[in-house]
């Protein structure tokens, strides 16, 4: 594990990881159901299979978001220091970014869960 994950990630891009996963998950859910309902092919593939596939996609998305959140938490020093991190120093900036990323990951996690809830209840495609 240790060899995989760099000890420190210092780039603004980590901030966007979770929201991007959220956006991709959202697009994947809507596109898959829409295309499935429009094409209805192949016939052997039932709506429940779509449900299961998207359920797995959801779990994967949540996994990535949790990982991003863990990275952010680490960058934030596991909550050692309290916000606001508003000193004009490199340390403070890193902590601030870590904290902001952690909050965004939380939001994205919730959003992915909310987007997946209707999947459990949708009955079928309606022509």
């Amino acid at each position: 594990m240790k060899s995989f994950i760099p000890r420190e990630v210092e780039t603004l891009w980590t901030l966007f990881t979770a929201p991007v996963v959220w956006a991709l998950h959202f697009a994947a859910c809507y596109a898959t159901v829409a295309v499935f309902c429009a094409k209805r092919l192949p016939a052997s593939f039932s709506f429940d299979s779509v449900r299961i596939v998207l359920f797995v996609v959801t779990l994967m998305a949540l996994g990535v978001i949790v990982f991003a959140a863990w990275l952010a938490w680490r960058q934030w020093g596991f909550g050692d220091d309290d916000p606001p991190h508003n000193e004009p120093t490199r340390d403070s900036r890193l902590l601030f970014q870590g904290f902001a990323t952690l909050l965004l990951s939380g939001l994205s996690f919730l959003a992915v869960v909310y987007a997946a809830v209707p999947l459990m209840f949708i009955a079928e495609c309606q022509p």
Binding site: V117, P118, F121, A123, E124, Q126
Partner: protein, 354 residues
């Protein structure tokens, strides 16, 4: 001209008595009456022939339950927030920063997330009830095809084989206790078919056929409306809904199929002479026009001009002399050049059709 337009039922409702009784002394009574007036706009919309909160059908009952659940939940949370606000403003107690942080985390993040998740799940779980879907809906279920046109409704009753049994307009009849499938279409712009007491609305989109199933539970006469802006007379595009006992419904279907407009020869002659037949149909006569509303058994309709006027001779005469004055943009030409005696005579003929 506004005074005789049909409006939705606006009668004040049950809680009047209860609210007034709360005031014990005179002052209290005045206050109660004042608050009653303040509540009026809200209360009148809670009952009547066009209220989603006074359901007469299954789907509408679910919608109303959903609404009241959300209302109650919202009221409790609102009361809690206002309570906190008063607490914060009045008591000058010192709280530790840690406790404040906890409050923000639990009260500001966790609580709303959980509540929203619960509400979302509840609403999504209700969805299949509110919009039931039946595989192979064509088999067995009664079908009515409704086409939204600027600014009226073409209504076709289909027989078991899916062929048109007969056509009518601006009025929908359904049997109580039986699920009916509506096929919704539009030839011009997007309209939306909505019978609030029976269920949710569904758009009518040009080039598409949308299906909506509704089940009436309480017999009665209700009102449906167009719920998507479709032009200048959009607000004057409504229809009457009759939920009937099944045996009455069957009898009506039979009678309606046998209806013809030949009893009043003189009225019919005028109708034909002035070219109304180019657009209108009256079953059993030469008039077989398809552009405007079918006028067979027109006298039975609860209203004229798609829920706009009372269905009485004087109003119908006024309508057909100058439809555009009553419904701006209506696609029927005016007949102001005809002598009034003749338009009155035609109106009498039409309102007499059964």
């Amino acid at each position: 001209m506004d005074d005789d337009r049909l409006t939705g039922a606006c009668r004040p409702i049950r809680s009047e008595e209860r609210i007034v009784r709360q005031g014990s002394d005179r002052n209290g009574r005045t206050k109660a009456v004042a608050s009653l007036f303040l509540l009026c706009p809200f209360l009148v919309s809670c009952s009547g022939i066009q209220s989603a909160l006074d359901p007469a059908g299954r789907e509408a009952a679910d919608v109303a339950t959903l609404f009241f659940t959300m209302l109650l939940g919202g009221a409790i949370i609102w009361a809690g927030v206002v309570g906190l606000l008063f607490y914060a403003a009045r008591k000058r107690r010192v709280h530790s920063e840690k406790n404040a942080g906890r409050l923000i985390l639990w009260g500001g993040a966790v609580f709303p997330s959980v509540v929203l998740l619960a509400l979302l799940s509840y609403a999504a779980w209700l969805m299949p009830n509110v919009r039931p879907w039946f595989q192979g809906a064509d088999g067995g279920m009664r079908r009515i095809e409704v086409t939204g046109e600027q600014f009226w409704w073409r209504v076709r009753y289909l027989d078991a084989g899916g062929a048109v049994a007969f056509e009518t307009a601006n009025e929908v009849r359904v049997p109580v206790g039986e699920r009916v499938v509506f096929s919704l279409k539009s030839p011009d712009v997007i309209h939306s078919f909505w019978i609030p007491v029976l269920g949710g609305k569904m758009d009518m989109i040009p080039g598409r056929e949308n299906r909506l199933t509704l089940q009436a539970e309480k017999p009665g006469t209700y009102r449906g409306v167009c719920a998507e802006f479709c032009g200048t007379s959009h607000a004057l595009m409504a229809f009457t809904v009759h939920a009937m006992q099944p045996q009455d419904y069957e009898a009506w279907l039979l009678a309606r199929r046998a209806s013809s407009g030949v009893q009043d020869a003189e009225g019919l002659a005028l109708f034909l002479k002035h070219g109304c037949a180019a657009c209108h149909t009256v079953a059993g006569t030469e008039a077989q026009g398809k552009i405007g509303p079918d006028l067979t058994a027109f006298g039975e309709r609860g209203s004229a001009g798609a829920g706009t006027l009372a269905n009485e001779v004087e109003h119908v005469a006024r309508f057909l002399r100058d439809p555009g004055r009553i419904k701006p943009g209506a696609k029927m030409p005016h007949f102001t050049m005809l002598p009034e005696a003749e338009t009155d005579r035609i109106a009498a003929y039409l309102t007499g059709l059964k």
